[in-house]
Structures are given as C-alpha cells and as structure tokens.
C-alpha cells in the first residue's frame, strides 16, 4: 500500500499543481520520485506533528491541497488537537495519511499501535475516513479524496500487501460487494478484507456461502449497502481496530436505528494493550480475526442460523 500511495501521489501531483506533500520525517526513500519532480512541494517538517498539521492548515488556507504523512499512531494521536481545530474547525481540505495503521507495527511496541486512528478521525467534524483493503483501493481512493472539499483521513498499511480483483467500482463512501451469498454477511474494513476473502474461499469448499461486503470507507457509512443485507441473519464485522468507534460500532448503531436485529459478531483485537511484541499476523491469528478465525465464526453462525430457520 505504501508504494501504491507514493505512486498515486506522483500521478496526482502531475495533474494538480496545488498538491503539496508534508511529512513528519518519515518515508525514507519512498518519496524520491516526488522530491525529484516537485522539490518545493515536498516539505519535511521534522519530528514535529503539531507543526506538520498547523503548517498544512496554513497552506490550505492559501489555496494549496496539502497531504500530511506520518506513522498512524503519531499522525492521529499526537496531532489530534491540530487535526481537530486547525483542519476540522477551519473546514480545510487536507488529506491526513496514517501509515502503518492498526497493528501494522504490532511488533514495534505499544507506542506504534494505532488501533484508535479510525475512531479519532471519525470524530473530527466532516472528516471522511477511509481504510483501503489493498493497493488498488489506495490508488483509486486517493485522487477522489483530494478532489473533495473537506478533510479526509486515509489509513495505509505497509509494503507488499496482496491485491484482489473485483468488478465492483472503488468509490469513496460506497461499500463493495466482493461476494454475494446468504444467511451471513461478513463486513470488513482495511486490510482485514484479505483475511475475509480467504475465509470465503475456504468456506465455499464446505458449501457455506456468506456475503462479503467491504467498507473501505468507514465514514460516511454506506447505509444503502447495509440496507441490502436484509436476508442476513448474522453480521460478522472484521476490523483491525479498537472496540470503540470502528466499523462494528457504527454497524451496531445503524442496526438499532433501522430496527434491524441481526446477530452482530465483532472479530478484531480486544480492548487491552497488546504487549509482547507479536507480529501482525500472529496477533490476528491469536485474537481470532485472521482467515481461520473468520471461517470458524462463520461455520458456527451458519449452523445456528440454519437451526433458527
């Protein structure tokens, strides 16, 4: 996703001479092409996240289209005050980029965990929040966010995540139906979609056919997509995010408001600190939100929903 991001950045900057990129001293070697082509539109503010965002807000007030970039935990947590007021209160079209969102850096320690990035950003006035599932979504969503007239956040992972193909268009605010099935709907955001796709493949061999609906946009929530899931008796929501303020919480609130009462099962990391420096894959396996964890939850629900029917 990181490479897709830097490639898309160069493409966008070639088309829009107002795009300006600011980093909090991160991305060694990643932005060399951009720096070569647009030296004055690249600013490394140093390890200074408050300045990163305030400066970008000032640029936006002057009509520029700033993109700010740092590690997701620092980008969203450390600079929250600046994002909330300098960007949010001023209604400025700044694109905030959190690299290594969720538990991408699980093994780097708690300082680098960003399990609250989506929740924090969704609290900022009018902010669009996206967590792409693969490099294709990064490449498609970025230019759309930069064409919008409000603030936005994009969570990107690391290098070399797998891509998936689908005929479903990639449009900000619209969930993608990656498989159509019955009884169970798996809802994903961010990189968890890859686990879910593998789980669906596994389950298909067993005759279990859940629907898979991927929400690269967490805010605004695609309510129309949720409305198409009437026949599902159970939602399995998979997110690499904290319990509060992520996709599962948004879906649960939507269900209550719309008198829908599916069984909602959230798969994801728990509430507590993650100590012991696990690898990202290990964490998702142990916390039960990887391929096998999703498949197991679906099997359970498949038999339960059949019994109920």
């Amino acid at each position: 996703m990181r490479r897709a991001f830097s490639d898309a950045l160069v493409q966008i900057a070639r088309q829009d001479d107002k795009v300006i990129f600011l980093t909090g001293d991160l991305g060694f070697g990643v932005f060399d092409q951009f720096i070569t082509e647009f030296p004055r539109r690249y600013i490394n503010v140093g390890v200074a996240e408050a300045q990163l965002v305030d400066c970008a807000a000032g640029l936006a007030l002057e009509g520029w289209r700033p993109i700010v970039y740092s590690i997701a935990s620092f980008m969203t947590g450390r600079a929250y005050e600046q994002i909330r007021l300098a960007i949010g209160y001023h209604r400025l079209p700044v694109l905030v980029v959190g690299a290594g969102g969720g538990y991408t850096y699980a093994d780097a320690g708690v300082t680098h965990h960003a399990k609250e990035d989506l929740a924090l950003m969704a609290l900022v006035a009018n902010m669009t929040v996206v967590a792409p599932g693969d490099p294709n979504e990064v490449a498609e969503l970025m230019p759309q966010l930069l064409r919008g007239d409000g603030p936005s956040y994009i969570r990107i992972g690391r290098f070399g995540e797998p891509r998936f193909e689908s005929a479903e268009p990639i449009v900000v605010g619209r969930a993608r139906f990656l498989s159509r099935g019955e009884r169970i709907a798996i809802l994903t955001t961010g990189g968890s979609v890859i686990h879910a796709l593998r789980a669906v493949e596994q389950l298909g061999r067993e005759g279990i056919r859940p629907t898979l609906c991927h929400f690269h946009t967490v805010r605004p929530l695609d309510q129309a997509a949720l409305g198409q899931l009437d026949d599902a008796g159970a939602f399995v929501v998979v997110e690499e995010h904290g319990v509060q303020g992520g996709l599962a919480a948004a879906v649960a609130a939507w269900c209550l408001e719309n008198r829908r009462a599916p069984r909602v099962v959230r798969l994801g990391p728990g509430d507590d600190l993650v100590l012991g420096n696990p690898k990202q894959q290990q964490l998702s396996r142990e916390a039960g939100f990887d391929d096998n964890g999703i498949a197991a939850a679906c099997r359970r629900l498949w038999s339960e929903t059949r019994a109920a029917a």
Binding site: V45, G46, A50, Q51, C55, G58, L59, P66, Y89
Partner: protein, 314 residues
C-alpha cells in the same frame, strides 16, 4: 534576575518607566519615522479602543480584560495602515496576513477591526452574546475577514508559517504577522513552528509576543523559568527586537524595520502591562477573569477620558 516583586528586572523596569496605569510614556517626537501628530491621534484612538473593550466586557459579562487591554496599542498600531489590509478587498491575494492567535483577547481585536472599517460599530454590542458573529473567541466561519479562528493557544504561528510557505510558493507579496500571548508560548507547538520558520528563511514573517508576564494563574517568568523570550527566539535563529509594547510609536518602528536580520523571521518582544490603561486593573491577575461592575466601569472610563463606541445602558 528578580526583584522583591517577583518580576524579572526587565519587566519591572517597563512598569517603572511607564506613565501611570502602564500607558506608553510620551514620545519625544524626534528622530522617529512617524509623525508626532499621527502618534497622538493613534493614542487617542487606543483610549477609545480600551473604553469600548471595557463596555463590551461589562455588557457580555465576559472577562479577559487584562489580556485585551495589554495588546490594544499593538493592534491600533498595526491597523493604522501598517498592515496592508482593506475592508474593501479583504481577500486580496497580496494582502498582509494578520493572525490573531491569542483568541481570548478577542474584544480588543473586534474593536480595532471595527475602527478599521471591517465591522459596523454597533455590532460590537453583540460581543459574547448567543448568535453573534463576535463570540468570546474569534470564529472565521462566522466572520470571514479573519485569517484564522483562534481560542486554543499555539496554533497561530504554525498556521502562519504554512501561509508564508504557500505565499512564497505562489509568488505572493505580503507579510504574515502573528500576535501571540506570552502564556501561549508555553505551548510546544510554538517552538516547532519557530524552528520551521528559521529553516525556511521566512523573513516576511513577524511574530509579536504580547509579553505582559501574566497568565491565567501565575506569572510567565515564574512558570517558564528565567530564560527570556529574546534568548529563546535568538536560539531558534530569529531576529529579535524588544520594545515597549504599550508605546504605539515603538510598535510602528519595529514593524517598519522588520526583518531585523536578512533571511530570518522576526520576533518582536512587546513588553506590555496586562490591563494597561486602567490603574486598578493594571498588572493584576484577578482581572484575567473579572468583569467590571457598573461603578468600576464608570471609574475606568473616567480615568481613560474616552467614551466607548457602543452605548452602555445607564
């Protein structure tokens, strides 16, 4: 260095040198660029500004008078034609950008904006009232001629550096002038921005620190240690000038002479008196929050010898 009042010696000197109630001492009229007549007129205007701030505070039951009164002379000086801004063309691309970062002192800013033609005088009476365009902390969304909204300290300088960078990139003329309080400079973000401005050689950026040495609950030099603003900004690579910030002529001179060093941003350390102009408020931290009673308002207006721009019901 502190004396028995607990003030740093240089602050105490400013107090001692100032005329009663901390107003600027009379200027000699010699060897300044600005005519004595002009300065006298501006000093009269500043009295009117102060009187109106007091009336607004009284009507709105809203405090922060020491913060407002301390920066009146700076604001009057800037809006006397030193800033290239115009109510007829408030978004002119080559205008000077003035960022009022010490948002809690809004009353003074609103009065000066009205005196400069950006607001009708009558609107000042709505200050701090529900539905007003003039809340106790300035809101750009409601008052578009403002460059920024403020109220949370420590954003103005960083945003100003971004504006300056953007203006340079676009080939815009114009300066960026940021007014901060000294308490505001407690915020680390101010120093992140100060380093950035130096690194990018922003010589058309001017930061003015309203150094009244008063905070909400204490004295700046006691809370932050005895390193001076001069030392700090110099260490961050800025050109620095210290002035009597309640002396309009001194403010005008400093703004005219910036940049103080080529290729460097400029810091004007404006030594001021919190509550300047009203003897019983001057340098009294209680008046950071207090609102004048009817008697206190009468007393203060009589001392200023100026009438507010808005009516105060008897």
């Amino acid at each position: 260095m502190t004396n028995d009042t607990g003030l740093a010696q240089d602050e105490a000197d400013v107090l001692a040198d100032s005329s009663p109630a901390g107003l600027a001492k009379p200027i000699s009229g010699v060897a300044t660029r600005n005519s004595t007549i002009e300065i006298e007129a501006l000093r009269e205007r500043a009295k009117q500004t102060r009187a109106t701030c007091l009336a607004m505070s009284f009507l709105a039951r809203e405090g922060h008078l020491t913060s407002a009164l301390s920066c009146v002379d700076i604001l009057v000086a800037l809006y006397s034609g030193r800033l290239n801004v115009s109510p007829q063309n408030p978004r002119d691309a080559d205008r000077d950008r003035f960022l009022f970062s010490k948002g809690h002192a809004a009353s003074a800013f609103y009065v000066v904006l009205a005196q400069a033609g950006f607001l009708p005088f009558a609107e000042l009476a709505t200050y701090g009232k529900s539905g007003s365009r003039l809340p106790s902390h300035p809101c750009k969304l409601m008052l578009p001629p403002l460059e920024i909204s403020s109220g949370s300290l420590g954003h103005g300088l960083g945003m100003g550096t971004g504006m300056m960078y953007g203006m340079d990139l676009a080939g815009r003329r114009g300066r960026v002038v940021v007014l901060m309080s000294d308490g505001e400079c407690n915020e680390g973000s101010v120093w992140e921005a100060a380093a950035f401005a130096c690194a990018h050689r922003q010589e058309r950026l001017i930061a003015i620190v309203d150094n009244n040495n008063m905070q909400a609950v204490g004295r700046t030099n006691q809370l932050m240690g005895d390193a001076t603003f001069e030392d700090k900004f110099q260490a961050f690579g800025w050109g620095v000038r210290t002035i009597d910030g309640n002396d309009i002529a001194a403010v005008l001179d400093a703004v005219d002479e910036a940049p103080f060093q080529p290729g460097r941003p400029s810091a004007i350390i404006a030594k001021t008196v919190g509550g300047a102009g009203v003897s019983f408020m001057a340098n009294d931290t209680a008046w950071h929050y207090k609102v004048p009673s009817a008697d206190e308002l009468r007393l203060a207006l009589a001392e200023l010898g100026a009438a507010p721009l808005i009516e105060v019901p008897a």
